[in-house]
């Protein structure tokens, strides 16, 4: 419906094409990018940045969150500095990261990693803290080892909330990537958009934004499917 009105407005000349091109033109721009392979290249580069950043930041977030959730000693030593770093807006660190790590892949991946580690840290911390202590007592009666307690109690009990953290992290990962790629990049979707700006190709810019949105929705859907699986015993 909205698309029809948009297309009609463009055809009647009500929407100036140098401000908002018709949907059909955006689709054509998209088809061009798919056919000449630019989109696939950009997706691969941006995808690798997000995945590496998620794995790195996710690893630290989950490991630290688990340690802090399980041990008062870790809580006292690790949590205060984490809360201080968390107060920094991580996107504001871009100039510093460029000076420290140059303009290659490293600063972008590290920035994504920094952004995603906090939601995962906070959610894992609180998920591990909320595990029912009666289940730990039961495990003690049954004679569970630490590894059995971890696998049988902590992991399944904490999984749903950790996955909420993963969803928040994904949103932050894409946002961080968009900003990082706008400022300095010679590859990736952000570069595609930035490049299109120099050539006044609004159709490509809008197409790039749609790709970002679809990536966000798609990855979120994957995590929601994992959430349903982790909670299937409640059905």
């Amino acid at each position: 419906m909205l698309l029809g009105v948009w297309q009609l407005g463009s055809a009647l000349g009500l929407l100036p094409q140098d401000v908002l091109p018709a949907p059909s033109l955006i689709v054509e721009a998209g088809i061009d990018l798919v056919e000449n392979g630019q989109l696939a290249d950009a997706l691969r580069v941006s995808g690798i940045r997000v995945v590496e950043g998620l794995l790195l930041g996710g690893f630290f977030g989950v490991v630290l969150g688990t340690a802090v959730g399980l041990s008062r000693w870790f809580e006292a030593t690790v949590d205060p500095p984490m809360q201080m770093i968390r107060a920094l807006p991580h996107l504001g660190l871009i100039p510093l990261f460029i000076l420290w790590f140059g303009i290659g892949e490293l600063p972008k991946v590290l920035l994504v990693a920094l952004g995603v580690s906090f939601p995962l840290y906070l959610n894992t911390f609180s998920a591990v803290r909320q595990v029912d202590p009666k289940l730990f007592e039961t495990a003690q009666v049954l004679g569970f080892s630490f590894w059995q307690r971890f696998r049988t109690i902590i992991l399944p009990s904490a999984a749903p909330q950790v996955l909420v953290g993963v969803r928040q992290s994904l949103a932050i990962a894409w946002l961080t990537l968009i900003v990082a790629e706008q400022i300095n990049a010679d590859k990736g979707i952000g570069f595609l958009i930035n490049n299109a700006r120099d050539f006044l190709r609004i159709d490509i810019i809008i197409f790039g934004l749609i790709v970002y949105a679809l990536l966000g929705i798609g990855t979120d859907a994957i995590v929601r499917a994992l959430e349903r699986r982790a909670l299937r015993y409640r059905s």
Partner: protein
């Protein structure tokens, strides 16, 4: 400290002269409890009298006490809530009762299925615990406690959260299993009827001291009483 081996022959579990403090608060004073194999001992008392603490000390969950504790093997414990792991199916929950036995998986599963059949839930082995009724979940908890064939079964208000009819059928089930396996039972309860109906001996705990011991010499085995009860309960649809 432990009690010397030759005195343990018939003993499933025993506490002798146990004192227990929580900070400045003395919760148990000179408590001695002995449960033999094939014997059901009930421990009754008001809330806060320390009866759950006695059970926790006997279970080894509360190691900070003075006096002596002796238990034959690893005691099994069932709580008021079934405390099943909701994200594992019923059979796996019962298999966890064999954690200390280190059996191969297939052997453990066979024994778990047998224990589930003992409590009348052979057909529920593969369902999630959250789909069970309260009474069924408590029976799974009992199967998990008994699957390793313990010599001492510790029960902490095990039927307290169940409705009256389910509670009666659980009592019947407990007696059946007890007659079959001959373990010793320490039953913590605040239900006097339950204590009299099940126990050979009832200890009354008050403010952390055993103040009274009653041997039940006309226990559950009185044939007529049980027949009438069974007949009436049968009319109510309760199986015992």
């Amino acid at each position: 400290m432990t009690i010397s081996a030759e005195r343990q022959t018939a003993i499933a579990g025993e506490l002798r002269h146990v004192d227990k403090w929580y900070g400045d608060h003395r919760v148990l004073t000179n408590v001695s409890v002995r449960v033999d194999r094939g014997e059901i001992v009930a421990l009754i008392g008001r809330s806060g009298s320390g009866k759950s603490t006695v059970l926790r000390v006997l279970a080894g969950l509360s190691p900070d006490h003075t006096g002596e504790r002796a238990v034959s093997g690893a005691p099994a414990l069932a709580f008021q809530e079934p405390r099943l792991f909701p994200w594992r199916d019923v059979r796996t929950n019962v298999v966890y009762g064999l954690t200390r036995s280190r059996l191969p998986r297939s052997e453990a599963q066979t024994r778990a299925d047998r224990a589930l059949a003992d409590v009348g839930l052979a057909d529920r082995a593969e369902v999630w615990p959250l789909t069970l009724s309260g009474g069924q979940a408590q029976r799974v908890s009992l199967a998990r406690a008994l699957v390793a064939e313990p010599e001492l079964l510790l029960l902490d208000e095990p039927f307290g959260a169940l409705d009256a009819l389910t509670r009666l059928s659980m009592r019947g089930l407990l007696l059946d299993l007890w007659r079959e396996h001959g373990f010793g039972v320490l039953l913590v309860t605040h239900d006097v009827d339950e204590a009299v109906a099940l126990a050979d001996r009832v200890l009354v705990l008050e403010a952390g001291r055993v103040v009274h011991t009653r041997t039940i010499d006309e226990p559950r085995r009185s044939p007529n009483a049980e027949r009438y009860r069974a007949e009436l309960l049968d009319k109510l649809g309760v199986r015992i």
